[in-house]
């Protein structure tokens, strides 16, 4: 889902770089082998003599584009939210997980650019069209299959996935302990949402890293993000700024999260969160 969203955004930037647009299906090599995929992309790029290659700035998209850059000896601009053709190409790149932007010049005979998910809303553009599919048949070299998926481990748990949840209820230092998360879990359960947390919580061992929202954790884009006892450091906001709405519950009315929220409740989360849960129960 994240990939599709970013692919659409890639397409929006790529349109500025001329016609025709060509698409390469990232699932072309199965099971996934990033170097084989890269070899294929290098071959197609040369065969079609393209001016630029765009990909979604997902983990996989950035991985394959960096491999393409290394293999073909080109620079690579990751996570660009804007790009203009020219010599040099000008781009606006995300730094610090999007908390800071960079105007940069890309000097390359072929521009390699990725576009991050949720970077901007795609509002216009031509309607989808039917495309001709040109199959490529190639021999894959054994060294390009040294790194290939050999298995898949399903996610543990089975609750609502943090990345896909419509509501995320998240706790920070203010929750105080591992046991303190019981009230966060209760509210998340009542809202059919997922539990999240800040980095200080995972560093303390109160929650697993898979619950961490932030620049080095999971980046989320729920309908509603409820941040309980989270101060709102830049690295945390990088993970939740995609939320449509943010409710901050914090004892400190001056906490940075209060400046980045849509709704705020000031006070002790240990009283407020159970009171909200009790109020929801009255409705059911």
């Amino acid at each position: 889902m994240e990939g599709n969203e970013a692919s659409l955004q890639s397409l929006t930037l790529a349109r500025k770089f001329g016609e025709p647009l060509r698409a390469v299906h990232m699932e072309a090599v199965q099971p996934f082998a990033p170097d084989a995929m890269t070899a294929l992309m290098a071959m197609v790029a040369d065969d079609l003599d393209v001016s630029s290659v765009f990909a979604a700035g997902t983990d996989r998209g950035n991985d394959v584009m960096a491999r393409l850059a290394a293999r073909t000896g080109l620079p690579f601009a990751a996570n660009c939210i804007a790009a203009e053709p020219g010599d040099p190409v000008t781009v606006v790149r995300q730094r610090w997980g999007g908390s800071l932007l960079e105007d940069a010049l890309l000097r390359a005979p072929r521009a390699l650019i990725t576009v991050p998910p949720y970077a901007f809303r795609v509002t216009d553009g031509p309607a989808p069209i039917d495309v001709d599919v040109k199959p490529y048949l190639t021999r894959i070299e054994p060294e390009d299959l040294q790194v290939q998926v050999t298995g898949h481990v399903a996610a543990a748990g089975g609750g609502v996935s943090l990345a896909e949840a419509k509501v995320v209820v998240s706790g920070g230092r203010g929750v105080g302990s591992k046991e303190g998360f019981a009230i966060i879990e209760e509210l998340a359960g009542l809202l059919g949402g997922a539990v999240g947390c800040s980095r200080v919580v995972t560093s303390a061992g109160w929650r697993p890293h898979s619950d961490q929202v932030g620049q080095t954790g999971t980046k989320i884009a729920p309908e509603l993000y409820i941040a309980c006892g989270i101060s709102g450091a830049t690295q945390h906001m990088a993970g939740c700024k995609g939320a449509k709405r943010i409710l901050a519950i914090n004892a400190d009315a001056e906490a940075p999260i209060m400046q980045n929220a849509d709704y705020a409740v000031v006070g002790d989360l240990k009283e407020i969160v159970p009171a909200i849960s009790a109020e929801i129960r009255k409705l059911k």
């Binding site: 170097d35 983990d59 950035n62 991985d63 584009m65 960096a66 491999r67 850059a69 290394a70 080109l74 620079p75 690579f76 601009a77 990751a78 040099p88 730094r95 610090w96 999007g98 800071l100 932007l101 960079e102 940069a104 010049l105 890309l106 000097r107 040294q146 790194v147 998926v149 050999t150 898949h152 481990v153 399903a154 996610a155 419509k166 949402g193 890293h209 898979s210 961490q212 080095t216 309908e223 509603l224 700024k241 943010i246 409710l247 209060m258 400046q259 980045n260 849509d262 709704y263 705020a264 409740v265 000031v266 006070g267 407020i272 159970p274 009171a275 909200i276 009790a278 109020e279 409705l283």
Partner: protein
């Protein structure tokens, strides 16, 4: 975030520095592997003279020695950074023997180029798996786990290899006082590589405009609960 006057860097006079989360997990993993199987571990960074503090931090966790590629603090793009690291790894291997594994953070916390580890791997002719949250040596290869499709994809990567890792791979330890004292005596090999012209050139940094969120205060304490529930209903999550 506050920029320096020339908008080419962050204003850092009032900030502290740490090893970034992904890289810290790489350091921890290397230390654990050496504790389990023996051998030697080396930490490397490219950065200004002050970055020696982070090298000492890594050695306080158990890394044996350090390589410091010193810069004047100016921006190095991914290609230039990778080139300097490749030269340093080759020089070290020529005298101390080959590395079985080279760890990188998946992407740097600041510039987020997503490419240095993969470029180094390509130049050294070694396989590379990225974004790893699980790493385990099994004979002559490494079992690697990478988050994908709501679970984890598994790779078996033959050694020697380059691995880029993410926070969550492990829970890094805190340095002990004896560890810090030992780190102060461990060797740091410093050199100053020349910076080639950037092909991805930073022109200026820009603090993005806020998203225009203006918090509506729903109340204080438990008494705010009805107002919160009313909001939950109005936005359609209840």
């Amino acid at each position: 975030m506050v920029l320096a006057d020339d908008a080419m860097a962050l204003e850092t006079r009032h900030l502290g520095f740490t090893i970034s989360p992904h890289e810290e997990c790489g350091v921890e993993e290397a230390v654990r592997m050496i504790e389990a199987a023996g051998g030697e571990s080396v930490v490397l960074t490219l950065g200004p003279p002050e970055a020696v503090e982070q090298l000492r931090d890594a050695m306080a966790l158990g890394i044996d020695r350090a390589i410091h590629l010193q810069t004047d603090g100016s921006e190095w793009d991914g290609e230039a950074t990778a080139g300097a690291i490749v030269d340093a790894v080759r020089a070290d291997e020529a005298t101390s023997g080959p590395f079985d594994l080279v760890f990188f953070g998946n992407e740097s916390a600041d510039s987020g180029g997503f490419q240095v580890g993969l470029r180094v791997a390509r130049a050294l002719g070694r396989p590379c798996a990225t974004g790893l949250k699980g790493v385990k040596v099994e004979g002559g290869s490494v079992r690697c786990e990478q988050e994908a499709d709501g679970g984890r994809d598994v790779y078996a990567v033959p050694m020697p290899a380059v691995l880029t890792v993410k926070e969550g791979l492990n829970l890094p330890r805190y340095p002990s006082v004896p560890g810090r004292m030992r780190a102060a005596r461990k060797p740091v090999a410093a050199s100053t590589p020349a910076r080639p012209p950037a092909r991805l050139e930073l022109v200026r940094l820009v603090v993005p405009a806020g998203q225009g969120r203006r918090a509506e205060l729903l109340g204080s304490g438990a008494a705010a609960a009805p107002a919160v529930v009313e909001m939950l209903r109005s936005v359609g999550v209840l």
